[in-house]
């Protein structure tokens, strides 16, 4: 766990300091192995972290989120909100060119954002934008229908990447971009589906140019095979090392394990509108009944952190609460008060192979619940079936509890709290699949959305988190820590909490 803080903080500064001692070497081909082939490389279509990771090397966003989770300028040098917070003005970087030579300017931004708008489900990533105004060659203004503070983090999301307007214009109707033309430090070279994506250095890059000639992202679905490829030197870095293998990898000379907190929180939700889960004492009792510390330590091998809020610590708006400590006696007492008979039977639905050790965690929870006199029947489903099961409206939802994860990918509490806890987001309309509803929480989350002042927003989220924590609509479990590994021959790689490995400034010794 010591490494986490270290890696998040070291970032470019620390790494380039190391570089001064030895001097980064130019050239070479860096190979990174990950588990899933990108579903697309069209900014309009991508939905997964692996796709975002590849795209972010090729096509850049207006703003960016650094590995210590600060919003920083990228293609936009600065930005400002109007007095009434209804307009966001972005001042663009000058002299930037797309890989096909097309200049990057306000018109290009407009073309890209309009394209997101046409594919309405993607545009909803920032639904408040009503009009995109080109003020001058290097200034763009976004007009909102109401103040929407999280738009800054949304624009920094790697999915909202800018591609050449020429490419968009020449794209046949109904077709996706396969070889994106961006402004990034690397150019698209080749994509063999299910095998690898290769990108090459962009020698005309506007910023600091990459050291390596090319980066290959190799698709290797099996955890064990990925590990072996690293051990045999066929790849330089891999993602998602199985937790139980991490100590062995760390002990191998020439390899190092990198732990990066992920933005994904794992929880077990109660069917909030169904008895006995309507009783807060029952929900809290189950929180006391489960030893989260032990789950993180024994099952995840330390690759996680016990939740002390419904979002993890790095997210804007996080506010820690007093954890429900492991106390089976207290749980029993609360259950008795609520009139839950011994041997009460419940169902616990869970996926398998979707999240780190998900099935094992469900089994552990089952054992803890048995300790306090609750018999949980475990029901596992194949992922596609599980998804459709979880989109059932409230009157059809038969489950008692389900295990699921949520990644707050914009790194802003709005994405993690509004979508999951606001009453308007009940399934199937939104992601509140457990039918939580608290008018006070609703009001706070709505207000936080339209409050531009960051400090005031933080207070609103702290208040909302406190209420959610007391209501206990979940068994608050943990947030995941992503375990990557790399060869010590590679320097300057950035392991980003968004589940990316960034090769922008990496070099091979």
């Amino acid at each position: 766990m010591k490494r986490i803080g270290l890696w998040v903080l070291c970032g470019l500064l620390g790494l380039s300091a190391m570089g001064l001692a030895q001097g980064p070497r130019m050239g070479g081909e860096l190979i990174i192995a990950f588990g899933t082939d990108p579903e697309s490389l069209d900014p309009n279509k991508i939905t997964s972290a692996p796709a975002g990771m590849v795209l972010t090397h090729i096509a850049e966003t207006l703003l960016t989120m650094t590995e210590d989770l600060e919003i920083a300028p990228l293609l936009a040098e600065s930005w400002e909100f109007s007095e009434d917070s209804l307009a966001l003005t972005l001042y663009l970087r000058k002299g930037v060119k797309f890989h096909d030579g097309t200049p990057f300017n306000a018109e290009a931004v407009k073309v890209n954002l309009e394209r997101f708008r046409r594919a309405s489900y993607r545009f909803l990533l920032y639904p408040r934008v009503q009009r995109i105004e080109v003020v001058d060659e290097y200034t763009v203004r976004l007009h909102l229908d109401m103040p929407f503070a999280p738009i800054i983090s949304h624009l920094s999301h790697n999915f909202v990447a800018m591609v050449s307007p020429k490419q968009i214009a020449e794209l046949p109707e109904g077709q996706d971009i396969v070889a994106p033309i961006g402004t990034g430090p690397f150019k698209f070279d080749k994509w063999v589906r299910g095998e690898y994506v290769r990108i090459v250095r962009n020698d005309e890059y506007w910023g600091p140019k990459p050291y390596v000639d090319a980066v290959v992202f190799r698709v290797v679905p099996s955890d064990a095979t990925r590990l072996v490829l690293l051990e045999t030197g066929q790849v330089h870095a891999i993602m998602r090392v199985p937790p139980l293998d991490a100590p062995r990898v760390a002990a191998t000379p020439g390899l190092e394990v990198v732990k990066v907190p992920s933005v994904r929180t794992i929880y077990i939700a109660f069917n909030y509108q169904k008895a006995p889960w309507t009783d807060r004492r029952v929900r809290q009792a189950l929180n006391y009944a489960v030893d989260k510390e032990a789950i993180v330590k024994e099952i995840l091998g330390g690759a996680g952190g016990v939740s002390d809020a419904p979002i993890m610590p790095l997210i804007f708006g996080y506010s820690p609460q007093k954890p429900y400590e492991y106390d089976p006696e207290k749980a029993k007492k609360l259950l008795a008060e609520a009139g839950i008979p011994k041997g009460f039977k419940v169902t616990l639905y869970h996926p398998t192979g979707r999240y780190m050790m998900d099935a094992a965690i469900a089994e552990a929870v089952q054992a803890y619940l048995r300790n306090v006199g609750i018999e949980a029947e475990l029901i596992t489903m194949e992922w596609a079936a599980y998804l459709s099961f979880l989109f059932k409206p409230v009157h059809e939802a038969t489950f008692d509890m389900f295990l699921l994860g949520w990644g707050t990918v914009t790194l802003d509490a709005d994405y993690g709290l509004f979508s999951l806890f606001h009453t308007s987001q009940w399934a199937p309309a939104g992601q509140n699949r457990f039918f939580y509803s608290n008018p006070a929480v609703d009001a706070l989350l709505e207000k936080a959305r339209v409050t531009p002042d960051p400090e005031a927003r933080k207070d609103l989220y702290a208040e909302a988190i406190k209420l959610i924590w007391q209501d206990a609509p979940w068994i608050f479990l943990h947030y995941e820590v992503q375990i990557n590994a790399q060869s010590t021959k590679v320097k300057g790689l950035i392991h980003h909490p968004r589940e990316y490995i960034l090769a922008h400034r990496a070099w091979l010794e």
Partner: protein
Amino acid sequence: MLAFLMRRLLLAIPTLFLISVVVYALLALKPGDPIDELRFGNPGFTHADYERLIKLYGLDKPWYIRYWYWLSRAVRGDFGPSRRYGMPAAEFVFRQRMPNTLLLSGLSLLVAFAVAVPAGVWCALRRHSFVDYAVTTLNFVGISVPVFWLGILLIYVFSVRLGWLPAGSLGTPGVAEQGLGAYVVDRLRHLVLPVLALSSIQMATWTRFMRSSMLEVIHDEYIRTARAKGLPERAVVLKHALRNAILPIITLVALAIPGVFSGAVLTETVFNWPGMGRAIYDAILANDFNVAMVALMFISLWIILCNILADVAYALADPRIRYD
């Protein structure tokens, strides 16, 4: 013979049709749809979007209507796009995955056959010898060991420990630029371990069959006659015994050929080999129906063809068998 062939080929058409109905229905009735993954984790995705896309993709229609759409286009050779890969499903299956699978599974089949026949014959001729016992034990191991475990073991020994061979994938990315020689060597090196793992079960099974089949034949009277009339042992074994003993093996091999096209999902996963097995498995899990349909129909076609082929091969190997 020709009439038999025509009859069997004509019968294949309704069979294929029935298979396509059943497979399509199974895929369509499986819970979940392609839109679920899109809206999961996307807070901006409203229920209206969901309904719009369901309509757009025709997913609101019952499965038999959708099947009819699919069929009417499929007979014209249009198998629709792959939702996951954004390209025609047929192109993905036949151009991107099929060649890889043919290489791996075809080579495994050849290796298994080339080893199993001589090994089986040898064991039958030297029955109860040390070699016979050793091969029988190996066969026993080959049949019992699960292929994914064997694969991992091979990787551990030959890639991790000894470092002789690469641990997986088709080849080293970019090696093609270093010339044809380097490319071929690289590809072959990447093939050794997966072929070894994939051929193990067939090798073991066929060796056992070959051995017992040969044992049955070798004590027949016509073999004794052949020996009695002074034929060299070589001719007795190869010309008289083997020709009869190999019949059941031909059936086994013919029936194994469709497997060459369907790929091997476990081996492909362990060795990171982008082949048909994984393509079909992933397509079904991801609700990418068009890819699953075109691949499964193609494999069904081959199963039918190979069954016919096995019957024909019988007739060729054994003149007593006639289909008129």
